[in-house]
């Protein structure tokens, strides 16, 4: 039995991440799920959150903004419109976006607009968390 599986994160613009990993934790629409090698085939919709993958003892974090996760035979693919690796994220900008979204959420009364603000907030939080993960990993290394 294989001990790793291939993880690919693909957006319409490029392949964001491609590595053999031992473990993947992501958030589906209806809750968190962890995938280990030899998982049975599965297709599920993802929420807006961070994904963590462990490859050769190192942990990688990326913000995933919705999308689809497909588990095949020792191969997992995440298809999403936007995915950013933790190290690529501009933390200051994400913080600004978070503050903006929070302010908007309290101001808006319209249901649709509140929903949009909530989504923006979730995106900002996911990106911040991914950036945070990348930072702690760097610290451990130095």
């Amino acid at each position: 039995m294989a001990k790793t599986f291939k993880l690919k994160v693909i957006t319409p613009e490029r392949i964001v991440f491609e590595k053999d990993v031992e473990k993947l934790t992501a958030t589906a629409r209806d809750g968190q799920l962890t995938i280990l090698p030899n998982h049975e085939p599965l297709v599920t919709a993802l929420g807006i959150d961070v994904m963590r993958a462990t490859a050769a003892g190192e942990e990688y974090g990326a913000a995933i903004i919705g999308g689809i996760l497909e588990v095949g035979v020792n191969e997992v693919t995440i298809l999403t419109d936007t995915a950013e690796m933790g190290i690529e994220i501009d933390e200051a900008r994400a913080k600004q976006a978070q503050a903006r979204a929070e302010a908007e959420k309290t101001q808006r009364t319209d249901k649709l607009e509140t929903h949009a603000a909530e989504l923006a907030l979730a995106r900002a939080v996911a990106r911040l968390r991914a950036a945070e993960m990348a930072k702690t990993r760097k610290k451990l290394h130095h």
Partner: protein, 293 residues
Amino acid sequence: MANLKAIRQRIKSVQNTKKITSAMRLVAAAKVRRAQMRNSNARPFTSKVVEMLQQIVHEVSPIDLQDLPLLKKRPIKKVALIIISSDRGLCGGYNGNIIKQAILRIQQLQSEGKEVAVIPVGLKAAAAFKRVKIEKIKNYTQLPAIPTVEEAKMIAENVCDLYTKKQIDAVEIVGTDFVNMIRQEVKIKNYLPITLPEGKDHFPKSAETLYEPDLIELMEEELLPKYVENVLYQALLEAAASELAARMNAMSNATTNAKELIGSLTLIYNKARQGNITQELLEIVAGAEALKG
């Protein structure tokens, strides 16, 4: 002498034009390479979406899928054409070819007794259909030079919305495929309703795939919108690469023409100069002869 001056000015002006066209050629050549790269970077996503759909078609009976609005076929009364052109000219026959093909297709559909509406993308198509008596659903002009998923999403959502509301019964894309640097082909593709790929089992020997929350919801909310968006995104990318390649060729031809023109003008100029000198000599000789008496 006045003639000589005019020719000299003409040569100068052609030289200036040549400078501009060769600069434009270089710019287009650099951009087309990057556009091609974006094309190939976008391919993994497309092939994965198609793979997932193939797997689903393989595992699920068609009856379960036939109620999805984007897949459902109905009698076609009205067809919308998405016509992808460029915002800027100076790219040879690029826009002309697209518009010609689009008009042929419109005539064909009309002769079949169908209503046709157009959705021009790019200023050139918008301008071409401005004075034509035909329904325009919406113009998409001045999109960024490098197409992004956002625009594709915007157009796709709009079109899908019209389709599900039954205001249009089919959608086709008129766009240019980038074959190679020299050849770009105008293609008319069926867009909606979606034609699913043939079923194919990508994971034989493994258990049946689980779909969460459930297949229909997944198809309706994730896979099909992604597929539709991506087809359009691909079309926009192809069109962008084709436009640049067409511009590169047009500018390269223009530069060659300018070179030839400068050559023949220089020849004329030299002939005229020589003629002048000969005539002056003749006049001097004749004058000397006359003085001799």
